[in-house]
Amino acid sequence: MASTRTNIMVCCGTGCLASESEKVLKNLEVIAKARGYAEEVQIIKTGCFGFCEQGPIVKVEPDNVFYVRVSPKDAKDIIDEHIIKGRKVERLLYMEPNENERIKKQEDMPFYKKQLRVALKNCGLINPEDVYEYIALGGYEALGKAITKMTRDQVIDTVKRSGLRGRGGGGFPTGLKWEITKKQESDVKFMICNADEGDPGAFMDRSILEGDPHSVLEAMAIGAYAIGADKGIIYIRAEYPLAIARLNTALKQARELGLLGKNIFGTDFSFDINLKYGAGAFVCGEETALINSCEGKRGEPNFKPPYPAEEGYWGHPTCVNNVETFANIPSIIMKGADWFAAMGTERSKGTKVFALAGKINNVGLVEVPMGITLREIIFDIGGGIPKGKKFKAVQTGGPSGGVITEEGLDTPIDYDSLIERGSMMGSGGMIVMDEDDNMVNIAKFYLEFTMDEACGRCGPGRIGTKRLFEMLHKISSGKATMADLDALKQLAYMVKDSSLCGLCQTAPNPVISTMKHFWDEYVALVKDEDHPQGEGRYVPKNKIGMKS
């Protein structure tokens, strides 16, 4: 992985597959290997680039060269000419219809669209308070199809084959979760929607609930049918009053039309949903803590196993899925597992919504196929860094994730590649930082957050996060020694290894990853005697000697 210098991405979306992109992929692999470039060149199967008309599409990164209508026999030239000799294969470049000029770079293509909206497809398009608009765009047909035409196993099988993984952060395969819950023998089961979006800087769930609440209700009913539940709960933050209001309206409308309630679509399947309000606790996004909170208790996590699928809400088998996960379900049922699985990478299918914020021009929500690179998200869609500043790092995964620097920008994003880079997908918050941001302060910011939010149940979480924060504070105030840095590193790994639940196991990630990538900034605060030390007075290395 580390020695890879080039990524060749081959579109294996439905459109391109139809035009033999799989053979192109295979030939590229064979020829790269034969020429001894298998180590240096990574050949990646990606989802739809949204440019099917010109398929099959092959893209070479980091060169950002875009080839169209690539036939299997063109693979040889791409490797021999482009990869080995560094010459672009002119005849495969895209030709702009009007100007008769071949365009090399994707961003130069006027109508090129990187974003594909599945979970957000109705957001901003329909009136969320009018169920008929949702129905007019095909709403509730997936539910009808699932419960009148499909068996419970067929529904689960479809979701499994689609490759959908939990969008709340963990990335557990959704179909598998449903299957495990279905297998439990119990008369009472629960379907819970996790709408406790606690990651500061992430707001995709809020947008879905505010913009398209029926999609979540419909998907919960489909899931409930599959696992055999007749009751559902949406656990939502009290800080989202508008989302709560729109959900209540949607619930009322769905009940009036008999889309929730007894004997849905005239079948013997009955299902209804209640809302439960959170009260401001980040840890309640963890599923066992969330269930405790639904029961009116302190939202502390439990040991797993038993998993909620075995013993959840009041001891009954319970399936907990995230809002964005649910929002993908109706499309999967209607368009099929293959359609969904054609998007994304080998192990992460479909699209992901990201909330772009921080030092970036186009702050907002984007939904992109998995496998897109961070560079494309930040620079092409996000419009780059404001005021001509230099990109420094991007934090993904919120307080549980880590920073990714310039060298990681061309990694295709999926659940696994982000973990390999010391971060994680998380719920999809993406905070961009520029050259002015001091990474020790960023780590300290996140640790202050997890210290406040640690529930207090386990020692490493309760005491460890506090000590980590204190050490970071000492460092940023310029009072630390090199020995403190070693102790910080050691403690970070200890908290990671010994905490009870995901929240504190991942809490040290911002420290570990900033120490890894920006060690010199930590050291500068310890050693650098030329500069007055103290919080916020750190001067980045490349500026030393300049007046700032």
Partner: protein, 130 residues
């Protein structure tokens, strides 16, 4: 009324399809013009409610009744809230950004009445819907 079968649902879909056909494709569907206003938390905190009120007031004071103002969710363009989409039958929908209440008059006069979209407010839509 309770929907009792998939066919009944499809019938309802058919009945209401005109309501949304214009939005996606700009297809001719009656003579109603639509103004979609992004009314999620982010939009409202940037002033979408004032914008919506300004549209409603302006339209009612001029007795224009072939225009429907529809509150919708978040389109994701937080950098340019409030966002407003104008759908005129037979034309491609136009998405505007940064539509504070003081821009409302312009949109009605120049675009809706005059037929000329206001170029410097237009946002380029860079996504497709599945």
């Amino acid at each position: 009324m309770k929907i009792k079968s998939l066919d009944e649902l499809r019938k309802i879909r058919e009945e209401h399809s005109n309501q949304v056909r214009l939005r996606e494709y700009g297809e001719m569907a009656g003579d109603k013009i639509e103004i979609l206003i992004g009314m999620a938390t982010c939009g409202i905190s940037s002033g979408a409610r004032e914008t919506l009120n300004a549209f409603v007031n302006a339209l009612s004071s001029e007795d224009i009744d072939n225009i429907k103002v529809v509150p919708v969710g978040c389109i994701g363009y937080c950098h340019s809230e409030p966002t407003v989409q104008v759908n005129i039958p037979g034309q491609k929908p136009v998405l505007y950004g940064n539509v504070k209440e003081n821009k409302v008059r312009d949109i009605i006069e120049k675009h809706i009445k005059g037929g000329k979209p206001i170029e410097n407010l237009i946002l380029h839509v860079d996504f497709e819907r599945a």
